[in-house]
């Protein structure tokens, strides 16, 4: 019986158009339960993605055959601004470790080091990202900076970021990394670096197991959240949320509560 009810609820959700139930949540947002959109406000509005771009950066890197290789940090990467894990120019680390640092702590130095190691330059890597985005049918998205720094012509939509995150979460390594509350990596020379997650919901919001935070002056506070409870999952995208933590926590709670199967 419960299975039947869950199926019926899912079917109803799938059939219904998402409503803009929480217009004050963010200029663009969406909430999906078990893969079905339930609430959304301007989900196709192009907006600056900030560090949510790193979801695709990480996915492209994790899909690359050179993920297990060592990379050497360039002077440019070591000087990256914003969130950093403290990489130094010239030192080497595993691409996979850098991807982990980019996802967990949103390290821009690690991000640019990965992009450069895989494509030579950030802009070349951004072109690779756009090809992958096109493969996924992300029609409202274009990346210019692989790490999400504000850049002319760079934009994404909440709907595209939702689709992207769903694909990315199917990658076991990506899924493992975004659930980490901290990261510790060792460079080839033995220097150990550590950082904690930028996702304040991890360990605080029951069931939250990733995905990514982002902030730039143009994008505002952004987040993609994934949470699982009792075999059901909620995905939330907030772009430019005035208070992303409270809003994200409240919407995830509400999504689980209001779509709970009833016997």
């Amino acid at each position: 019986m419960p299975v039947l009810v869950v199926t019926a609820v899912a079917a109803l959700l799938a059939a219904a158009e998402p409503t803009d139930r929480f217009p004050s949540a963010a200029p663009s947002y969406l909430v999906a339960v078990d893969g079905n959109l339930v609430w959304a406000g301007a989900p196709d509005l192009p907006r600056a993605p900030a560090s949510l771009a790193k979801i695709l950066t990480a996915l492209v890197a994790l899909e690359s055959p050179t993920i297990g290789d060592w990379l050497t940090v360039s002077r440019r990467a070591a000087a990256a601004t914003g969130s950093r894990i403290g990489l130094r120019s010239g030192e080497s680390l595993r691409v996979k470790d850098a991807v982990e640092a980019m996802l967990v702590a949103s390290g821009n130095d690690a991000c640019l080091a990965v992009a450069e190691s895989l494509s030579g330059t950030g802009s070349a890597f951004a072109a690779r990202m756009n090809r992958r985005a096109a493969e996924m049918g992300l029609t409202g998205t274009r990346f210019v900076d692989p790490c999400g720094h504000d850049a002319p012509g760079q934009h994404a939509t909440a709907r595209d970021l939702w689709k992207l995150a769903r694909v990315a979460l199917e990658n076991p390594e990506f899924r493992r990394m975004v659930a980490l509350s901290s990261v510790q990596l060792e460079t080839r020379s033995g220097r150990v670096l550590g950082a904690t997650t930028s996702n304040a919901l991890l360990g605080r919001l029951p069931g939250a197991d990733g995905v990514k935070t982002g902030f730039t002056p143009e994008a505002g506070k952004c987040i993609v959240v994934h949470a699982v409870r009792g075999g059901r999952d909620v995905m939330l995208v907030l772009l430019g949320a005035p208070d992303r933590w409270w809003t994200a926590a409240a919407l995830v709670e509400r999504a689980f509560a209001e779509t709970a199967p009833r016997e």
Binding site: F22, P23, S24, S51, C147, A200, D243, A249, E253
Partner: protein
């Protein structure tokens, strides 16, 4: 004992048993075998045979009267060997009937015709005296026990109804539960958390009668529970045993929710909030979003309040 009196015993045993005093002494009787066949609307039902213990001394009431004042014997003739009678029943199930019983060697033979709104029913009766000695009060005793058990179960059900805040069981002239002690329990619980929760789980059209049942204002009873929870929560703040009071406030007490939210949630960053208020404040944030407000509508400090101003100024220019 005459045939008519024996028949009366057979027909009236249940109603007499129901009216019997709690202590029923043994009464000498003798066993009879009775067979009844019924025909209605052209159909015959299989004969039913049963044994009964009939008092040796017989009964004093004529058949069809018993304790049922809805049925009256309108005619009765008894010539010693054959008895015939007519009866009428009023009320919801109107009925009229005629019957005749004739004594036979070692038993009786008879029939009764009953006319109801559904049609006519013929009942043929045969009785054979087996003569085995028995206690004719046994059936009465059984009925007394059944009735006592029923009353006990009803009392238990009504106490449970009060515990569960089942207002329906106590409201209106047809109320199932009338014991003042149970009603007092219901009304006492209405001013407790469990009671308010129990009422909240029922439709308002059912719970609205509680005021009349208890002779008190429903809102006042709820307020009493909410005020007590508010005082307890304020006194214990974040101690383990205050969780229940906080949860109750969030679920059922809008005024106290406002007080706690202003005190604990407003302006707090999600990350700095004590764990014990996280769920409460998250729900409150959801309620603000519902009303089209921003979740941290009264920010005392920004979410990254732990950072110093200089760091914040730099960071605001950069992605993270």
């Amino acid at each position: 004992m005459t045939v008519s009196v024996r028949l009366a015993v057979l027909l009236l045993a249940p109603s007499l048993a129901a009216a019997a005093p709690p202590a029923v002494p043994p009464e000498p009787g003798e066993e009879w075998e009775n067979t009844v066949e019924m025909q209605m609307a052209g159909f015959s039902m299989p004969a039913q045979t049963s044994k009964s213990c009939v008092p040796k001394k017989g009964m004093t009431d004529p058949p069809g009267t018993g304790k049922d004042d809805k049925c009256k014997v309108t005619r009765m003739k008894n010539d010693g060997k054959t008895m015939s009678w007519s009866m009428v029943c009023e009320g919801k199930e109107k009925m009229s009937g005629d019957g005749e019983i004739t004594q036979t060697a070692g038993g009786y033979d008879g029939k009764m015709t009953m006319r109801t709104a559904d049609g006519e029913m013929l009942m043929k009766m045969r009785g054979k005296k087996l003569g085995t000695p028995c206690d004719s009060a046994e059936i009465k005793r059984t009925m007394v026990a059944v009735q006592a058990e029923g009353e006990k179960n009803m009392a238990k059900a009504c106490t449970n109804a009060a515990q569960r805040m089942s207002v329906m069981s106590f409201a209106g002239p047809q109320a199932m539960c009338k014991d003042p002690a149970d009603r007092a329990l219901l009304c006492e619980r209405a001013a407790t958390r469990e009671g308010v929760r129990g009422l909240g789980a029922q439709p308002e059209m059912v719970t609205k009668d509680l005021g009349a049942v208890c002779g008190k204002d429903l809102a006042a009873m709820k307020l009493q529970a909410c005020s007590a929870a508010g005082r307890e929560e304020a006194a214990k703040r974040c101690k383990d045993d205050s969780k229940e009071a906080l949860a109750f406030i969030g679920e059922s007490c809008p005024a106290q929710t406002q007080v706690v939210a202003q005190r604990e949630c407003a302006g707090m960053s999600y990350t700095d909030l004590p764990i014990c208020y996280r769920s409460f404040c998250t729900t409150y944030a959801g309620n603000l979003l519902d009303k089209g407000k921003k979740p941290a509508a009264q920010p005392k400090a920004p979410e990254d309040s732990t950072q110093d101003a200089a760091k914040k100024a730099v960071k605001s220019l950069l992605p993270f």
